[in-house]
Structure formats: structure tokens, C-alpha cells
Symmetry: C2
Subunit: 178 residues, 2 copies
């Protein structure tokens, strides 16, 4: 795993395409180190307050929500096509009653800057520390999105995570096609 540091804005198109297809691993853990990973399909990268930021959206009903609330950090790992099946497993079960990582055959690796680990064998990793959180404002969201994405409420909370570290397995970047 010859990981190389990358700038937060590199490989963006590749990351967005993976996010829109198999999804990205969003990993967090409990205070006593029990790790969970969900699949995220939506998110944004940019620069805010002069800092590189990943903004993610998590519904209050998700197991991940309580974990990030408690711990204040998370990681995002970008899987190659070899982890397609593991993505489906992590994307279809809840960490409340499943050890998803074990069921998906995934291993974790310690992060460099945050407490939550990253998912082994992924191609790009981001380690993020929560700078800010705020809830979507249902009355200020266009009606078609409310109807399409929130038929039963459960409006997302947004977590704005400073990208404390970003690195890639540069030998495998060609697996992330654009």
C-alpha cells in the first residue's frame, strides 16, 4: 500500500464518478472503537474558511449519525471496482445490528490524523475533522426534492469536515476511470 499524500482537490472527477456509481465508504467509530462504515452517494468538496472541506449529509436515523455526533471525525475511502460487492453489503445493512465490515470482508487501517480508521484496499482516503454541522432547512428546499428524497422527513444533517489528510495509492489511480 504505497500511499502518497495528495492535494484535496486532485482526482475530484474520479471521486465524484465513483460516488455516483458504487459510492464511497464513510467510516466512523464508537467511543470504544467499534468501527462502522456506510456508503455515501452525495457530498461536496471545496474550500471554506481557508480550509479544505468535505461536506457530507447524514440522516438522523442512521447509525453513523450518532457516531459522528459523539466522536467528531470521520473518514472517506474511495473503493476500486474490486470492492463493488463490499459496497453493496455496507450500503444495504445497518451497523446497529450488523458488523458490516466483517460481513463484507473489509479490514481497516489506522488513520494518520483522526480517530476513525480508513478502509483497507481503497484507492484514495480523506481524513476529516468536523468543523461545523447544520441541518437542512425543510422550508427552504425545493418541493420536488422534499417529495423525492424526504417522503418521511428524516432530513439530513450536514457535517463540514476539514480534510486533515488526503492520500492515494497512486499505482491504482487508473482503476478509477473518468
Amino acid at each position: 500500500m504505497p500511499m502518497q499524500e495528495i492535494h484535496y482537490d486532485q482526482y475530484f472527477a474520479q471521486v465524484m464518478r465513483v460516488m455516483a456509481s458504487r459510492g464511497l465508504f464513510l467510516t466512523s467509530q464508537t467511543r470504544d472503537g467499534r468501527v462502522n462504515s456506510m456508503i455515501m452517494g452525495w457530498g461536496m468538496i471545496g474550500s471554506v474558511w481557508g480550509r479544505p472541506v468535505w461536506t457530507i449529509l447524514v440522516r438522523p436515523s442512521r447509525y453513523t449519525y450518532g457516531l459522528i455526533e459523539q466522536m467528531g471525525d470521520f473518514t472517506i475511502s474511495v473503493p476500486g471496482p474490486d470492492l463493488e460487492k463490499a459496497c453493496r453489503i455496507c450500503g444495504s445493512k445497518s451497523g446497529r445490528d450488523h458488523d458490516k465490515l466483517a460481513e463484507a470482508g473489509l479490514r481497516t487501517v489506522h488513520a494518520k490524523k483522526v480517530q476513525s480508521p480508513v478502509i483497507a484496499d481503497c484507492i484514495i482516503h480523506y481524513e476529516c475533522r468536523v468543523l461545523h454541522k447544520s441541518d437542512l432547512e425543510p422550508t427552504a428546499l425545493i418541493q420536488s426534492i422534499v417529495a423525492g428524497s424526504y417522503p418521511s422527513g428524516d432530513f439530513h444533517r450536514t457535517y463540514w469536515g476539514e480534510i486533515a489528510a488526503a492520500y492515494a495509492d497512486t499505482d491504482r489511480l487508473n482503476e478509477l476511470k473518468v
Copy 2:
């Protein structure tokens, strides 16, 4: 101006670097067509609700705030180094008491999908329609950011704009160095 349609996730690194140096033009207009452009240094691009999104931050004290509130759309134009001086002018005056575009020698071009125009002679343009807006939550923002960026309050409102069109002067992309 041989503009070519681009995918929302292309040239991201270039756009982020320009945003962090001379800034990007954030353009909006009044109901009766008076155009204003401010310089933005912070923002995020991504995919949310299955749509390409630019999320921008505007302080309530800004002239632009009232314009986007009224009109519900905005454009973002990425300037080359030739517009450095125009950026400084637009970044240092308020559209409330200045016709900044005239003072900066800038022209506008009709947008394809939204009412707000784009700034002529820029290299990349995004046309955005507001899908959602929400305010930063001061109590859920780390203290060093509150102290550093909001000493007098005036916390940003975030506008989540669907990227309805994105296009570039592909002959000039080499002017946006990474």
C-alpha cells in the same frame, strides 16, 4: 468565445486554485436587471440529491444576499490572470453604491439557463439555480472559526445551487495553472 459544455466535475483543481488566489466572480441581478458581481473565495462543488451542486456562502450584509434571495439564481465565472485587476475592484467595493462592472471594465453575457448573466472574457462559467438555502449554525461551529471569520457575527447563509449549465473556453484552459 468558443465555449464548450463541460461536466460539472471537470477542471475542479484549477477552479479551486483560482478561487483561493484571485477569487471567482459570483454574479446576480435585481428584478429589473441591474447586475452585480462580488468576488468569492470560498465554496464547494459536489453531487447532492443526484444533482450537480455548487454551494456558496454569502453574508447577510452583502448586497448580493438580497439579490439571490429575490431572484433565486446566480452564476460563477472563473477569471484568467488578465482580469486580476477587475477582481480586485469587484472584491473591494459594494454594489449598493457602485456600478462595479462599469468601474472594473467588465461586460456581461446572457446566461443559457438562468436569469443572472455571466462575466464576459472569463474561462469557465457555471449557471446555478437555488435548490436550498440554510444558515450556518453559530453554536455548532468551532470556536477558532467563529473568532477568526465572524468577530462581528454576520454568519453566512449557504446557497445550494444546482449547476444547470457549465461551459468553458477550452482554448484558454492552459491559463488556469495548477
